[in-house]
């Protein structure tokens, strides 16, 4: 078959000049994107290609198969027949975080789970995006006053889109995903800042009463998450 095809010929005579020209026209914002603005990287990496890449990224999102609580039932309905998120190029759940680029956080996050969620998020390759599904991921939702409930996913990982509801209807989640795709296509993503609850080594914590109490149980190098419930919103 391939023998009767004409060999694929590219015109590479202009490639060098084009690249050089592109680099020299610094003031011209043609190649700049929001992503570049945010990251401030050199034009060397970003070419026209980045716009294309953003579009591709938004149109073929691999979701992490991640279920926490009640909202995940509606999330399953969003993936399945009738709502069929796959129509929008975003419906292939991947079981491994290393193969996924979007994580939908569908449920209440409690103290025992937050470090695990952070770990799963860290394992996802860049660029990665987060959809917070439901009131629980916004503020703790109906369980806000619980002694064990983290007051929103944003306390632990950066969230790009919040979909409110308890639980949000599948239509709402589809809308949220579509909005995220729009943002990705525009090269936007939420800035990564230090969150109130981070994983740190136990030895790095300030020596206060509780650290002293736990010093016998926990190794210096163990990763821990410290919850300051009193400062939580």
């Amino acid at each position: 078959m391939s023998s009767d095809n004409r060999p694929f010929v590219t015109d590479d005579s202009q490639v060098l000049t084009d690249t050089r020209d592109a680099r020299m026209t610094g003031e011209d914002n043609r190649f700049n994107s929001k992503l570049r603005e945010a990251f401030g990287s050199s034009p060397f990496i970003l070419t026209k290609f980045d716009k294309f890449m953003n579009w591709v990224r938004g149109s073929s999102m691999f979701m992490l198969q991640f279920g926490i609580a009640c909202c995940s039932i509606e999330m399953m309905h969003t993936y399945a027949v009738k709502h069929d998120l796959d129509r929008f190029g975003a419906g292939v759940p991947r079981a491994s975080p290393r193969q996924a680029d979007v994580i939908i956080v569908p449920g209440t996050i409690v103290s025992k789970f937050a470090p695990r969620m952070k770990r799963v998020y860290d394992q996802m390759p860049e660029p990665k995006f987060v959809i917070g599904m439901g009131s629980c991921t916004i503020s703790g939702g109906p369980f806000q006053e619980g002694y064990n409930v983290v007051k929103g996913a944003e306390e632990v990982i950066p969230v790009d889109i919040h979909v409110p509801g308890c639980p949000p209807r599948p239509e709402a989640l589809v809308y949220g995903v579509a909005k995220l795709q729009e943002r990705i296509a525009n090269g936007e993503s939420s800035p990564v800042t230090v969150k109130p609850y981070e994983l740190e080594q136990f030895g790095d914590l300030d020596r206060d009463e509780i650290v002293d109490q736990l010093a016998r149980e926990i190794d210096e190098e163990d990763l821990v998450m410290r919850y300051n419930w009193a400062d939580s919103p």
């Binding site: 039932i73 470090p115 109906p142 619980g146 994983l199």
Partner: protein, 556 residues
């Protein structure tokens, strides 16, 4: 529960002891008597728990330790063992064990009832009672490093907490090999894993490909449901939460558990019309819940995301549409009110009836499809028949209920045995299978869908002909409910996964002083090691799938 002639093989009535006979049986272990709304209570010495429970079990036939409630009073701690009989759950007795305020210790019930293991660990974790002679008294819901016991009086919710993230143990490292040099290997499943149905962590020890030991690590979804219910008023603020215990569309079934307990406590009579609506709604929920159970079970066994799972979701969507018409929500219905339901059937009623009837009409065909695809499939049969075996005696000692118990041949269904709602007026059967294996549990669920459909159909017939002037949907309930001080009640209903019970104690205010949830999944999950040990890893996954746990209810 049939309207026809009683069947010939009606079991002989279970012998019942009067409270005084029981007191005599227990002799001088009893130091006081209490009256709970559901059962007589015996206050016993904290070092006689095993004696008393085994006497009640062996000599009086109380073979079902339904729940253990722990609570703190101003002057003492208290554990309550709620006992029932599998043969007749209306016969109940509460064993009340006080413990010292300064040094709360009482004897563990674990040697008598295996299920007490987790229940007492939970009591230790949340309330802080120590159980003597318990094999493994550790925290169960909260992280090991937690400080304080959150349901105790002096707990300070604002104190900081530190939770460690330990690396998963490395199976190749020397010290993770099991003892005596066998070639065992340690394997973590979860807490984020597609086969665990939520956030459950299984610590598994393998010997070759066989499971030598498995331990469930739960608490990744402990949302403080009991605390939140204790902070809510009876009348309106508690009802939204039951929807979120077993969130697989079993909302109305759960709401009924709370409604039943609170109505009995406050002596509220629910109008018959509302009972019929409740019965219908609850069974719709059961169908939706079982559909998901079947779909995910097939997903676990075949890894088939495209056909069966989608079929199950398709049928769930139909049930959810009907429920949405009825309640206004797809999942978190909040439809029951104390004394009835919040509103009547949607108008135009004919359309609603027609839609429901269409659903029921299509159901046999859908079930046929399931049988073709799932239960009739040779591969699935090879994977599930005779795997995950749970003998009835073991199931009972773990307090297993619902389809898990009925799949082991235990004929126990609260809808029939401890009737509530409109169930005893309708014609339906309790489904049991005696294979005791994964396959039986699957069959039980599929056949229960048929029974639920029967119930719904009869309810619709009734509702259609209900005279318009009699359509009372709510009883007259005072705006603020304040049950008498120190009233205690434990009431259960048949949820989608089994016996869902609520214990409440009032203190004369409009909020419960103690609110305890007896979750069927919590007890059912405890049977996992019994079913999985000695089996292959995939059978462990199948066994877990057949238990159909939902972590929202396990962890509460």
């Amino acid at each position: 529960m049939s309207l026809e002639e009683p069947e010939p093989d009606v079991p002989a009535p279970v012998e019942e002891q009067s409270p005084d006979e029981l007191a005599e049986l227990l002799g001088d272990h009893v130091i006081g008597r209490e009256e709970h709304l559901n059962a007589p209570g015996y206050v016993i010495r904290p070092d006689a728990v095993q004696d008393v429970l085994s006497t009640l079990k062996e000599e009086a036939g109380y073979d079902h330790l339904s729940c253990v409630t722990a609570q703190e009073y101003e002057d003492r701690y208290e554990s309550i063992y709620h006992l029932k009989k599998f043969d007749d759950p209306t016969q109940e007795v509460s064993v009340v064990v006080p413990a010292d305020r300064e040094n709360p210790v009482s004897e563990s019930a674990e040697p008598v009832f295996r299920t007490a293991d987790w229940h007492e660990r939970e009591a230790y974790d949340l309330v802080g009672i120590d159980y003597d002679d318990h094999p493994d008294l550790r925290r169960i819901l909260l992280p090991e490093s937690w400080q304080g016991h959150p349901l105790a009086e002096d707990y300070d919710q604002d104190r900081p907490q530190i939770v460690p993230l330990r690396e998963n143990a490395n199976p190749l490292q020397e010290d993770h090999r099991g003892e005596d040099d066998t070639d065992t290997m340690f394997l973590n499943i979860g807490p984020h894993h597609p086969a665990t149905h939520g956030v459950l962590h299984l610590k598994t020890t393998l010997d070759g490909e066989q499971v030598a030991d498995v331990e469930s690590d739960i608490g990744y979804l402990h949302r403080c449901e009991e605390q939140i219910c204790q902070n809510g008023t009876y009348r309106h603020q508690i009802m939204p939460y039951p929807d979120r215990w077993d969130y697989i569309s079993a909302g109305l079934l759960n709401e009924w558990a709370y409604a039943r307990a609170a109505e009995d406590m406050a002596d509220i009579e629910v109008p018959e019309y509302a009972q019929v609506i409740r019965t219908m709604g609850a069974e719709l929920c059961r169908i939706a819940a079982h559909m998901l159970a079947v779909g995910t079970f097939a997903l676990d066994v075949y890894g088939d995301f495209t056909a069966i799972f989608m079929y199950a979701i398709r049928d769930r969507e139909k049930a959810q549409n009907i429920l949405e018409d009825l309640t206004g929500q797809r999942l978190m219905f909040n439809y029951f009110r104390l004394g009835g339901v919040v509103w009547d059937l949607p108008e135009p009623r004919e359309e609603f009836f027609e839609k429901t009837r269409d659903f029921l009409e299509d159901l046999p065909e859908a079930l046929e499809e399931y049988h073709d695809l799932i239960s009739g499939n040779e591969i699935l049969q090879m994977r599930t028949i005779d795997t995950g075996v749970l003998p009835p005696e073991v199931a009972k000692s773990y307090g297993a209920t619902g389809p898990v118990a009925r799949g082991s041949g235990i004929d126990y269904d609260l809808r029939r045995d401890d009737p509530y709602g409109y169930y005893d007026e309708l014609d339906w059967d309790v489904v049991t299978e005696d294979g005791c294996d994964n396959y039986s549990r699957l069959l039980v669920r599929l056949r229960e869908v048929e029974e639920s459909a029967k119930i719904i159909e009869q309810c619709i017939d009734l509702l259609e002909d209900w005279p318009e002037e009699d359509r009372t949907i709510q009883a007259n309930v005072p705006r603020t409910l304040k049950p008498d001080d120190d009233t205690e009640i434990y009431r259960a209903v048949e949820g989608a996964k089994g016996e869902l019970g609520i214990y409440m104690r009032s203190d004369g205010t409009d909020k419960p002083a103690r609110f305890k949830i007896r979750s069927p999944c919590f007890s059912n999950l405890q049977t996992l090691p019994e079913m999985a040990e000695g089996e292959y890893v995939p059978d462990l996954v199948a066994a877990l799938g057949s238990l159909d746990i939902v972590l929202g209810e396990v962890d509460r």
